[in-house]
């Protein structure tokens, strides 16, 4: 074994130590080998005198109060590095998804900015918006009705009709709210920025309708420069539709949870009063509290997905 091989081996096994300590002990060994060689011994013999390397490493680690078995597996899991790698992969994935999303939007926006459409732009944009909404509505409505059907069969009279009607009503309300917000954002954009060129405006309007949540960073400047063709635009449109319908479905989940939360707060209040009065209902109260907390966290999570904060460079 050469001196470098020996030092490399030690360096790997002592990675659990902090850098200063590791350098220190490696320096000592390097110096020892050097001096041994000066006194006439060969490199190989000097290292051979150290005996079994495993045992040596174990002794070194013990001197630092590290369990010698710590680094013995060839698969070395360093918690901090693993965490860093996971976050970097996740952020790359997020950026990738954001880039795809951005490209999809840009491609569709570009399709609509062709010269031919410019004349009928307002009408055309209106039709496009309605078409998209209908596209989104159909699958969601199908799911909503099926869900209402299930609820109908599960509950007994008179709740069956009541619950399913309420659910469908909520769904439609949410959907209409979303549509109106999309239309409103389009109209307000239209009024504010009349002087911009047609193509940029259309692209921007389209983007403003479908914002991506903040946690996937979108790099607009890079993405806008790419040239997509119509076929990939259509594919991306399908992807887009799926993602938007997911968002709408999330809203449908959100509203019942919100309503249950209100009931839950009332129930929790009542339970607390009962406990104070002396009824043995502490367990139930704690369960209710837990339910409330989880409800609120679900609301927060889904809400932050649906209603992202405005990013400065968007729109």
């Amino acid at each position: 074994m050469t001196k470098m091989e020996f030092l490399d081996y030690l360096e790997k096994r002592l990675r659990v130590l902090n850098e200063k300590e590791r350098k220190d002990i490696l320096g000592e060994y390097a110096q020892h080998i050097e001096l041994k060689m000066e006194s006439g011994l060969s490199e190989d013999a000097a290292i051979h005198d150290f005996g079994n390397l495993e045992e040596l490493t174990a002794e070194i680690l013990e001197a630092y109060n590290v369990n010698p078995d710590y680094c013995k597996k060839t698969v070395h899991i360093d918690g901090r590095k693993f965490g860093e790698e996971v976050t970097s992969c996740a952020s790359k994935a997020g950026k990738g998804i954001g880039a795809l999303w951005g490209r999809g939007r840009d491609a569709v926006g570009r399709v609509f900015s062709l010269q031919f459409f410019k004349r009928f732009k307002p009408v055309f944009m209106g039709c496009v918006i309605v078409a998209i909404l209908v596209l989104v509505y159909l699958p969601l409505a199908g799911i909503a009705f099926w869900f209402a059907e299930r609820m109908y069969s599960n509950f007994g009279y008179p709740f069956d009709t009541l619950v399913s009607v309420i659910f469908l009503l909520l769904f439609h309300i949410c959907f209409l709210l979303l549509s109106f917000s999309a239309l409103y954002s389009y109209i307000s954009r239209n009024k504010d920025k009349n002087t911009e060129s047609g193509k940029a405006e259309v692209v921007r309007v389209f983007k403003s309708m479908f914002r991506l949540p903040r946690f996937t960073a979108i790099e607009h400047t890079k993405v806008e420069k790419r040239r997509g063709n119509i076929l990939s635009g259509v594919k991306k449109l399908i992807k887009l539709a799926v993602l938007v319908s997911l968002k709408c479905m999330a809203v449908c989940i959100l509203t019942p949870v919100l309503i249950f939360q209100f009931f839950g707060i009332v129930a929790f209040g009542g339970l607390v009063v009962l406990v104070v009065l002396g009824y043995p209902l502490i367990g139930l109260t704690i369960a209710a509290a837990g339910g409330l907390i989880s409800g609120f966290s679900i609301l927060w999570l889904i809400g932050s997905f649906i209603f992202p904060k405005r990013v400065g460079n968007e729109g």
Binding site: I25, G27, E28, Q31, G51, E59, A63
Partner: protein
Amino acid sequence: MNVQFKKGVLELIVLLSVTKRDMYGYELVNEVSKVIDVNEGTIYPLLKRLTNEHYFETYLKESTEGPPRKYYHLTAAGVLYKERLEQEWSDFSKRVNQFIEDGGKLSKQVLDDKGE
């Protein structure tokens, strides 16, 4: 030579070696090797441990023949520890020797009894 004997006494020998003057790693290893034949690599972790426990102080001193050398110096706590180890060794070796003497007589007696 029994490894456990050597392990037990190594600390004492290291501490004794540095009593007269400060030494650097390689020098120390050579000194210790004069008394007991021990794996040289294992002395460095021992030095590190004793330094962590504040029995040693280290400082770097430039040398004409290469990189600066780390010298080990016995602290006051180290001196006390060394004296304690010396005392313990003295007591320990006395008792063991005594036991061997007595044990020798005893085992001889047992053999004689059996023989009869």
